[in-house]
């Protein structure tokens, strides 16, 4: 019940989320990213439907995080085209893509360490709403502040809402990272190794949080822990050397001999 009310107030159940009329939430066509002579992404084609939950798996250096950076605009692609809900966002700056409903978390938590948990979430909500330059203090009944409090609850951080982020445990910082990605009215979230460094209990909590997200929010998750990744997604995309080489359901991917060879260590054995 509490979560349901949270979702409504944080905008997670907003009407614009469905992407009605657009077949693909995200479409990448021939996206490449070069760093000098290094080809981090090589002509990647990817389609993710609205509300779909996708895992992107691959060994270290496969290009997974670079793919996220290309999608969000942190490192724009050197070639190719990116469409988000039918709109070409290839040349848009990061903040414009975010305002269109794209969110992400980072492999290493990027948080405002000098501010409290509530401040972080308040800023996350405010970032995609009006009043970003307001010289006024938010009132107690401010909608953004209310949403931030509900996000605090959603990511199970009520007991540390006033704690400065620098003083949080690592697992709590990861939970906050997820909360910040869910602020506003996200249409698609990119989770970059959200389970990295978490204890078994924290991983269970993470799975619970991901599963409790409304179905209309699609997400792509990069995760090395297959126990987490395969339990929270509909489809899996495998990457190797900057290319996509296989797609399928979690069951198909788990039993694929080529995947086992490359990703699960068979090739190194």
């Amino acid at each position: 019940m509490a979560e349901r009310s949270s979702l409504s107030a944080t905008g997670l159940s907003g009407a614009r989320l469905s992407g009605a009329g657009v077949a693909h939430a995200l479409r990448l066509e021939g996206v490449s990213r070069h760093f000098g002579a290094l080809v981090a992404l090589d002509a990647v084609d990817l389609e993710v439907t609205a509300g779909e939950r996708r895992a992107v798996l691959g060994s270290n250096g496969a290009g997974k995080t670079t793919l996220f950076n290309a999608i969000t605009g942190d490192f724009p692609p050197t070639a190719g085209r990116i469409q988000f809900f039918g709109e070409d966002v290839t040349s848009l700056p990061v903040h414009e893509r975010i305002r269109r409903g794209l969110r992400r978390t980072y492999q290493h938590s990027l948080l405002f360490r000098g501010l409290s948990v509530l401040d972080n979430l308040y800023l996350a909500v405010r970032g995609v709403s009006r009043g970003r330059y307001s010289f006024r203090r938010p009132r107690r009944d401010d909608a953004a502040l209310r949403s931030a409090r509900e996000l605090v609850h959603l990511v199970h951080l009520d007991h540390v809402a006033g704690t400065v982020v620098a003083n949080l445990a690592y697992g709590q910082q990861r939970q906050l990272e997820i909360g910040m990605a869910l602020a506003g009215a996200p249409r698609m979230v990119l989770f970059d190794e959200p389970a990295a460094g978490l204890s078994a209990r924290e991983r269970r909590e993470l799975i619970e949080i991901l599963r409790s997200l409304p179905r209309h929010i699609g997400y792509i998750i990069i995760e090395h822990d297959l126990d987490v990744a395969l339990r929270v997604v509909d489809r899996v995309t495998m990457m190797h050397n900057g290319r996509i080489f296989k797609e399928g359901t979690p069951g198909e991917i788990e039993n694929d001999p080529q995947v086992q060879q490359i990703y699960l260590g068979g090739g190194h054995g």
Partner: protein, 348 residues
């Protein structure tokens, strides 16, 4: 118990927490004695102490406060705050009345005052536009370069800035039937402006804008990933702090009744940084504490050591503070308080 209530308070109000625990300065009524001392200061002090120590400290404090807002909250160390203050002072002289009648336009103070504030704020905004393309040491370098360029420009331009001579007889406007040049009114005018600037920074820190400025300090990449236009917020921070510095600049020109390139040279530019760091960048009261210490040293170092050695004295003080208390004189206060608390605890 205290920590629980503190947590609740922070949870209720964003911005209540900073990475290092906020300085635990007295709150509310505890400031009453300080307010009384300041309000009654002119009753038991002579003109020199009222103006040259009291008012001058507050003016430097306002300009340093503008730097504290940028550097302490926003992580943007700008060395051009004195230049912004000087810009306001110059344009008050150019648009209003001064001894350089061929240049000064002689407009009414009611027009000159807001216009000079506006021009100086625009100048600060332009500095922000340039400086926001840099970070860390490069921000310091580019703002220093702007400050030096502005200094040389005013010194070499005679058509607008009257070159080396600058402007003399620049007096505050007469309003409410008072001569604001007189020590008493000027002291209270400075006190009111200082209090307003201090209150504005305290208020802004917990406003949405203030939170975004602190977030800029912590993580600009995350700011972008939340949908913020980082450059826009940086420039807005420069503009807000520039307005404050401009207020300080107007008071400064009214105090000295003159403005010349010497007021905005490299020395005064660095002095503002010294004052802010000396006092402490973690709390808006820091720049005022630093300014008072600076002005006292400036005036009385001659009694301790040769007048020419003032820079050695202030340099040594600066070094000592940076080495032993990175949080400035306010940090020393906190350490002393913590030490006293530790001493008392066993008896409790």
């Amino acid at each position: 118990m205290a920590s629980i209530s503190d947590d609740r308070a922070r949870a209720a109000a964003p911005g209540a927490a900073v990475e290092r625990a906020p300085l635990r300065l007295p709150k509310g009524w505890a400031y009453l004695p300080l307010a009384l001392v300041l309000l009654t200061f002119p009753l038991y002090a002579n003109g020199f102490w009222i103006v040259q120590i009291g008012a001058y400290s507050m003016i430097l404090g306002i300009i340093a406060l503008s730097l504290m807002f940028l550097a302490g909250y926003g992580g943007m160390v700008s060395l051009a705050q004195m230049s912004v203050a000087g810009c306001a002072a110059y344009f008050f002289a150019i648009l209003g009345h001064s001894s350089a009648e061929a240049i000064s336009l002689g407009w009414s103070a009611w027009l000159t005052l807001p216009l000079s504030l506006l021009i100086a704020t625009a100048f600060a905004t332009m500095i922000g536009l340039l400086a926001s393309r840099t970070a860390g040491i490069y921000t310091i370098m580019i703002t220093l370069a702007i400050a030096v360029a502005f200094f040389y420009f005013t010194r070499q331009n005679y058509d607008l800035f009257n070159g080396f001579n600058g402007f003399a007889q620049v007096e505050p406007p007469h309003f409410f039937g008072l001569d604001w040049r007189q020590p008493l009114p000027f002291f209270y005018l400075t006190l009111v402006v200082s209090a307003l600037c201090y209150a504005a920074v305290v208020y802004l820190r917990r406003s949405t804008f203030g939170l975004t400025v602190q977030a800029l300090r912590d993580n600009q990449r995350r700011m972008r990933a939340l949908g913020y236009h980082v450059t826009g917020h940086q420039v807005a921070a420069y503009a807000a702090s520039g307005f404050m510095a401009a207020l300080g600049g107007l008071l400064l020109v009214w105090l000295n009744t003159r403005i010349s390139p010497g007021t905005i040279g490299v020395g005064p530019v660095i002095d503002i940084l010294i004052i802010a760091v000396l006092g402490g960048l973690r709390h808006p009261i820091g720049p005022f504490v630093g300014a008072l210490a600076f002005v006292l040293l400036d005036n009385f170092a001659i009694d301790l050591i040769d007048r020419e050695r003032f820079n050695t004295v202030i340099g040594l003080c600066f070094l000592a503070v940076v080495l032993f208390s990175p949080d400035g004189l306010l940090g020393l206060w906190e350490e002393a308080r913590a030490a006293l608390t530790r001493e008392r605890r066993p008896r409790d």
